[in-house]
Amino acid sequence: MRPGLRIFTGALACVIVCWSPPAKGYDQQVSSSLWAEGYSVLARDGSPIRRRRIVEDLHLSAWNLIPGSSDPYYRGVRLSLNVHLRLDSDFAIQRHESRPGVKDGYVPGLTPLAIDALVVQLHIRDLLDGVLDVRLGRQIRIDTLGYFAFDGLATSFDLPAGIGIDTYIGYEVRGGDQLGYDALELDGTDSGDRHNMEADRYPDREEPRARLAVGMELSFSPRRWVDAAVSYRTVGLSMPLADQLLGGRLHLGSDPVWFDARAVWSPLIDKFTQIDAELATEPGEVVTISLDYHLYRPLFEGDSIFNVFALSPENDLGTRIELRLNESMALAGWGFVRLADETGGMTGDRQEALLLGAGGGVGGNYYSHARTLAVRFSGIEEWGEDRLGVEIGVGQGLLPLQRLWLNLRLSYWHVDDAESKRFSGNMVGYVLSARFRLAVGAEVLGEFEHYVDGDGEQRFYALALLKLDLWR
């Protein structure tokens, strides 16, 4: 076991074993998900690339820190502290792959051990008689503009007449930072650690710079059936800006008809990056029928040349029908067509909108406390490529209170990959999993996957997971 992992595992054990009885009034929670997975892929020279991962997700929380706030009828200020850490270790990564200068084979960004802090926040709720919420620390925000992770301060005012004012300021969480992660960063430039890397090796790669971000959202919901908001965020307070978004949403809904619309504009490219609109009806809470439109234009960080390229947005026009037969059973069907507007290309010619592709599927679910069944067929075709297949999953609970749960998922897929015929063909496979509840708040899962393609090649994948949720 590597030294870093040994230290972390020891620290984790100490925290769990030595977790002291709580001081009077507040609740402590330790949640841990530890999983190990293993599989192999073939490199282009035919050699296997093994992945042997151990990942630990650790949540440490303290709730109801203010005395008396755990009372069901308490109406005052609430205080909580939440920490979410993740350790991701891949034992199969060789030393020369993760360190420059050892020998050939170095891949920047590949690290055998990564420790990320996803959330470290202090959350204060219901200040000023329920009007103000405050979050301080590393946090993730979800709003009209999408996901954003930052280290800083966020305030949320819930005012009378349905007016809401959210503001936030902080430094964007970036993958190259200590304890940082990049899952919510924009693409665009190759950013990351350049420690010990020669200057002429991966010259595009840059050390990430700290970027201060400011954002706000003003929402208005005077009645239950209407909600509107405008949002703004800028990453980088002065030129050169890394990201800048201006968005708005509108929700109009009164049983049984609802309308949702959202639009996001980027001044960096002077175009809409996303437009979503959906009209849905659900008469009698039995059938849902919706029509939707989605426009998506990829946005990159401000330094990226991809922002100034001639790019065609995706325009999808779709529909969806869902049928709730009862509390346990539901059926669904969906479909869409993809339109595109060529924007001139290299010669400047402008073409009419094209029908680029289409897709859809049908599926059904059945859930009970002891049994599940899911069937799903889907297909999509675009630019001469397609992917279509069917999956059937069954689950059965065994032992009293379904302490043991078995799942079997069968699948067949056909893929036509226009870029590489190597990946085209038919493939069948199954996933077999078993989940066992050891005790309240503790369960273990094992999963095995096996696929065979038309050429007779086989692939295997194994996963083991231990979940703990401890309260004191």
Partner: protein
């Protein structure tokens, strides 16, 4: 024409199914919140049409009750005040016609069944509500002396929510619902799962919810937090494990075409120039991989026999897929000269405005302060 029969059968099945589901009574609360029980006397309010007394005559403790679990069903002594003929009756005394007048449900031994009242899975204070509403507001069938399902004579949630909103009372989920220690609502009750009502936020949590939850999540993230912790979202959107619903089948083999089809969009959860590019470099797919050759298991280049023009035409539509293997250098090698202009038509009229926000991007291809040439 040959499919008309199947279309007709399918349409008929759909109509019958919808009609059947439509007949389900949805005017009562969820049995997950108010589990049905077995009353000692069925439809007691309808059986006592002559009772003109206020509700508190039989339910005197209602005005001081602060918990939904309080037992407010009157004891036998309350009934005896109007029915002296059953005074002294106990479960062991012989059953008479006077007993059967109210106790119509008899057990195997011919004895009246004992009342079984399940504990409600909500929080409710009669004391707080009596100041703003009378009994018939929430118990209309009892007030109208109508029959009602056992323990179900309360108005559905929509009525509660509307009244709370108009009266300025709290409308947060934890006001009425049971919550965990971390403040999240308890959603698994008696083998049933609670979900937000459709009338509150629109259609939700259907079979395709994992595909179309984004608008609701962006609008109602605080409502989502009533049931889901932050980690629930992060498990997919920043997660390290592959969720099967969005990564079906032999994903390692088919993810290339799936990423180009962008359904779902990989960027919802992955940064391609970190997550994807790292593995592509390691496996030799990316052009700047450590290995020497650009052959792919003897199959030639990854893009096969496509010409640069064909590849770039696809890139215009799907450049998000390109960045999973290529850095900017792949593009500047051709586009940094004047021969292959990568900009869209009319770019010169907009470039000054764009350069005012970030000029660094211009200097990657142009020299000598190119923004001075913008209009």
């Amino acid at each position: 024409m040959k499919y008309n029969r199947y279309i007709a059968i399918g349409t008929l099945l759909l109509v019958v199914t919808v009609a059947g589901a439509w007949t389900v009574d949805r005017s009562t609360p969820s049995p997950a919140l108010l589990p049905p029980g077995q009353p000692a006397v069925r439809d007691v309010h309808a059986r006592c049409p002559g009772a003109k007394s206020p509700c508190t005559t039989c339910h005197p403790d209602a005005t001081s009750s602060r918990w939904a679990s309080d037992r407010l069903v009157p004891a036998m002594a309350v009934c005896e005040s109007c029915h002296p003929e059953v005074k002294g009756a106990t479960p062991v005394t012989p059953v008479t016609s006077a007993c059967r007048k109210c106790h119509s449900d008899l057990g195997p031994a011919g004895k009246p069944v004992r009342g079984r009242y399940s504990r409600p899975n909500i929080r409710f204070s009669h004391t707080a509500h009596q100041q703003v509403a009378d009994c018939k507001t929430c118990h209309p069938r009892a007030a109208a002396r109508q029959p009602s399902p056992p323990h179900q004579d309360v108005v559905p949630m929509r009525a509660c929510f509307t009244c709370h909103r108009t009266q300025g009372a709290p409308t947060g989920c934890r006001t009425c619902h049971l919550v965990e220690k971390d403040g999240r609502m308890v959603t698994q009750l008696g083998g049933r799962k609670l979900q937000p009502p459709v009338w509150l936020i629109g259609p939700n949590h259907g079979p395709t919810w994992h595909q179309n939850h984004a608008p609701t999540a962006g609008r109602e993230s605080s409502l989502c937090a009533s049931c889901h912790v932050d980690a629930f979202c992060q498990n997919c959107h920043t997660g390290a494990l592959r969720p099967r619903k969005t990564h079906p089948g032999d994903w390692l083999r088919s993810h290339g075409v799936s990423s180009r089809l962008e359904r779902p969009n990989c960027r919802n959860c992955h940064r391609k120039q970190s997550f994807c590019l790292t593995c592509h470099r390691r496996s030799g797919v990316a052009p700047d991989s450590p290995a020497e050759s650009l052959t792919f298991r003897g199959q030639g280049r990854y893009h096969g026999t496509r010409t640069p023009r064909e590849i770039c035409r696809r890139a215009r539509h799907d450049i998000g897929s390109c960045v999973s293997c290529h850095s900017e250098r792949s593009c500047t090698s051709c586009h940094a000269n004047a021969r292959y202009n990568p900009h869209p038509p009319g770019f010169k009229n907009r470039c000054r405005k764009l350069a005012s926000r970030n000029r660094r991007v211009c200097t990657k291809c142009h020299t000598n302060q190119p923004w001075n040439r913008c209009k």
